[in-house]
């Protein structure tokens, strides 16, 4: 079916004719085996709760279940292909799959290219409030003068500020944070996508309920190529059937219906989560160790320059070090990650992280080493000179070993501070521990537990370092070094 229509269409394009014949032959072989009982369906697999991989790595979600139900009604197997959202329509048009059951909203632009089935669900902006406000708040206008949470960057913020400026809108980085603040009574509710919001509330097991109708609504339907009206008709019939049989409602309830007797069908696989966090932490430590090492290597010559007498090189170095120490690491990170591509250097997130943290580490360590060098008495160099050592020998055998010993406790403190700074790199999507934790929290809605676990991991590394710093300091004092 899909194959035949494809051929009809491309026959018009004579240049491609021969290629199409070849493709036809391959597809004929293919379809003769599979086509009769397989419907090729595309979705992203990255849009919980519509399509996503659950804790056991299984593709699941509302769209996935709807796909299965439709294919069943058609008497076919659902052959689900996951693909990126960008280009998902192009893939349909080029015949890579027959339909997209991927929560696509009907828009005028899309309608020009493809046919849509009847909507299989509706979504849009929905107001939700905590249980204690359900009595008093019956619509959005009842929220005037009250605090409502939205996710930063979502269209709902813009919508509320324009249409209901009387509402005190509070922005959050994630829905998880919004739920926490509803619990903390900082806000009374939230506005978000009706379907996604319902699912998140269900997962979080919090008593939060939708109020009134959707503030605005989108029709979600299945796009099919215009050259395949037969399939469009068949699927519309299938949608009607699953609706009548109550299958659609069952699927809906599975993901979205909020009730207080919730059963968590996807029991959190804690050991898998812990493994993911540990893996993320390994990346964090890797980035920290590499950055600290590179930073240290750069810090030594920098400190020597800073400790020199005068000159333009010293002044430039001084300024750079001050600038790095005086600006937020977060902004330096953005600067390298987003700025470098502007001058033609495209860095991976992890390289950007390592470069930024190395530069940062070198500035802090240079300062520590410089103060170590300064605290070696002038007479030490003089004595070395009197004994006939060369300048390099004086530095290597006399000044540096003392400066380093004096600097060690402060250096270890820098290492602790910089290791903790590594947590910032999640912002440029390095898959380190914070990012892993965030992704787990977006499914489990348990930020306290997982962030606490991450904090403990950091502490397990930093605590021995702190002890070490203390011990080294005592040892150094015992040997008669001056420590500031």
């Amino acid at each position: 079916m899909g194959v035949i229509s494809l051929i009809n269409e491309v026959k018009k394009q004579k240049i491609l004719y021969k290629i199409i014949i070849a493709v036809f032959c391959i597809l004929f072989l293919h379809t003769s085996v599979y086509a009769k009982n397989s419907l090729k369906i595309a979705l992203t697999g990255k849009y919980p709760p519509f399509s996503y991989y659950n804790e056991t790595g299984e593709l699941t979600g509302y769209d996935v279940d709807i796909s299965g139900a439709i294919a069943f009604e058609l008497g076919m197997d659902a052959d689900i292909i996951t693909t990126e959202w960008d280009g998902i329509l192009a893939g349909l048009l080029s015949g890579k799959y027959d339909v997209i059951i991927g929560s696509m909203a009907i828009t005028k632009q899309r309608k020009k290219k493809v046919n849509f089935t009847k909507p299989y669900y509706y979504s849009g902006a929905q107001l939700f409030v905590a249980q204690e406000y359900v009595e008093n708040i019956k619509n959005i206008k009842d929220c005037y003068g009250k605090k409502i949470g939205v996710n930063l960057g979502e269209t709902y913020e813009h919508y509320l500020r324009n249409k209901h400026p009387q509402i005190d809108v509070v922005t959050y980085k994630s829905t998880v944070d919004i739920f926490k603040d509803i619990k903390n009574k900082r806000i009374i509710g939230l506005v978000t996508d009706k379907m996604v919001g319902s699912w998140q509330i269900k997962k979080s097991k919090q008593a939060i309920f939708p109020i009134g109708k959707m503030l605005y609504k989108e029709d979600i339907a299945i796009p099919i190529k215009k050259s395949n009206p037969k399939l469009l008709k068949k699927i519309n019939i299938a949608l009607e059937k699953i609706e009548k049989k109550g299958i659609k409602q069952k699927i809906y309830d599975k993901y979205f219906t909020i009730n207080n007797a919730l059963k968590d069908e996807t029991q959190a696989n804690s050991s898998l989560f812990l493994f993911k966090i540990l893996k993320g932490f390994a990346i964090t430590l890797f980035v920290a160790i590499i950055s600290l090492f590179l930073g240290f290597v750069v810090a030594i010559p920098t400190a020597i320059v800073l400790n020199s007498d005068k000159g333009i090189i010293k002044r430039i170095t001084r300024f750079i070090v001050d600038f790095i120490r005086g600006t937020p690491v977060l902004i330096q990170l953005f600067f390298i990650y987003f700025g470098a591509p502007q001058i033609g250097i495209v860095l991976s997130p992890i390289s950007s992280a390592i470069i930024t943290l190395s530069i940062n580490a070198s500035a802090y360590m240079a300062e520590v080493i410089r103060s170590g060098l300064m605290s070696v008495p002038y007479g030490q160099g003089l004595a070395g000179r009197a004994l006939g050592f060369s300048k390099t020998q004086i530095f290597v055998y006399i000044i540096w070993p003392q400066a380093f010993r004096i600097a060690i406790p402060s250096l270890v403190n820098s290492v602790i501070a910089l290791t903790k700074d590594t947590a910032l790199i999640s912002i440029i999507s390095v898959g380190e521990v914070i990012r892993e934790a965030q992704s787990i929290i977006s499914i489990t809605f348990n930020p306290i537990k997982y962030y606490f676990f991450v904090a403990i991991l950091f502490f397990m590394v930093t605590f021995p370092l702190m002890k070490l710093a203390g011990k080294l300091e005592r040892n150094i004092k015992k040997k008669g070094f001056e420590v500031d």
């Binding site: 003089l382 004595a383 010993r405 040997k479």
Partner: protein, 226 residues
């Protein structure tokens, strides 16, 4: 007695008409001339501000007098390479500057190893010999922070002597020592003068008289007595 000794003198260091003026205009040394004989202990005495430290710095090649010359073996020291000159003339500073991160043994053997290029083993052996000869073998494994002022003074001298200089310049060697220790130290030093010539800058008259074969007294940048 002085006459007979003088005949033996080789007069390796000859100071000729040197003057030194600081940038602020203070004249520290005014036209000073004298000889420093070999195999002797020469003491340069004077109150603070008399110019003795400036003279020591000139002798140590750390600063250059604006006028006059210092001859070492008939050669202007300004024309002698620093490294060569340092091997001939050792200096022990007032605050000794022992290396706190190294043991006594390493303090001494480091220069033998790195400057004189002897092997590590040989440097260690030489150090052990020297410490034995100087009666301070028991300090070999100690760190500078673990020994007394008098011991540190001896170690600092041992460190300089290890390189076998012809002259050894000591700056206020007794400043940190009590009178009894000073006396012991003086006796210890006298035994060493046959191998090395000492130039001792000090304000301690008792000590100078105890150890010195000849005393040069500085006052206001000029020689008071010789």
């Amino acid at each position: 007695m002085k006459e007979t000794l003088r005949k033996r003198d080789l007069k390796l260091i000859k100071i000729e008409n040197i003057s030194y003026t600081f940038k602020n205009g203070t004249q520290a040394l005014k036209d000073i001339s004298f000889d420093i004989p070999q195999n002797r202990i020469t003491s340069i005495m004077g109150e603070s501000g008399s110019g003795k430290t400036t003279l020591l710095r000139c002798l140590g090649q750390f600063i250059k007098p604006q006028q006059g010359t210092i001859l070492y073996n008939h050669k202007n020291i300004n024309n002698i390479e620093e490294k060569v000159y340092r091997s001939k003339l050792g200096i022990v500073f007032q605050n000794l500057n022992l290396f706190p991160h190294l043991t006594v043994e390493k303090n001494i053997s480091l220069a033998l190893n790195k400057v004189k290029n002897t092997t590590t083993d040989e440097a260690k052996q030489q150090t052990e010999h020297l410490l034995e000869k100087l009666n301070i073998s028991d300090l070999i494994a100690a760190y500078p922070s673990q020994i007394s002022g008098g011991q540190a003074q001896r170690v600092a001298i041992a460190r300089a002597l290890a390189l076998k200089p012809e002259y050894l310049l000591l700056d206020e060697p007794t400043s940190a020592l009590d009178p009894a220790t000073t006396k012991d130290f003086g006796n210890w030093l006298i035994q060493l003068r046959d191998d090395t010539s000492f130039i001792i800058v000090t304000h301690d008259e008792v000590f100078a008289k105890q150890v010195a074969d000849n005393i040069i007294e500085l006052s206001h940048g000029m020689i008071a007595t010789q």
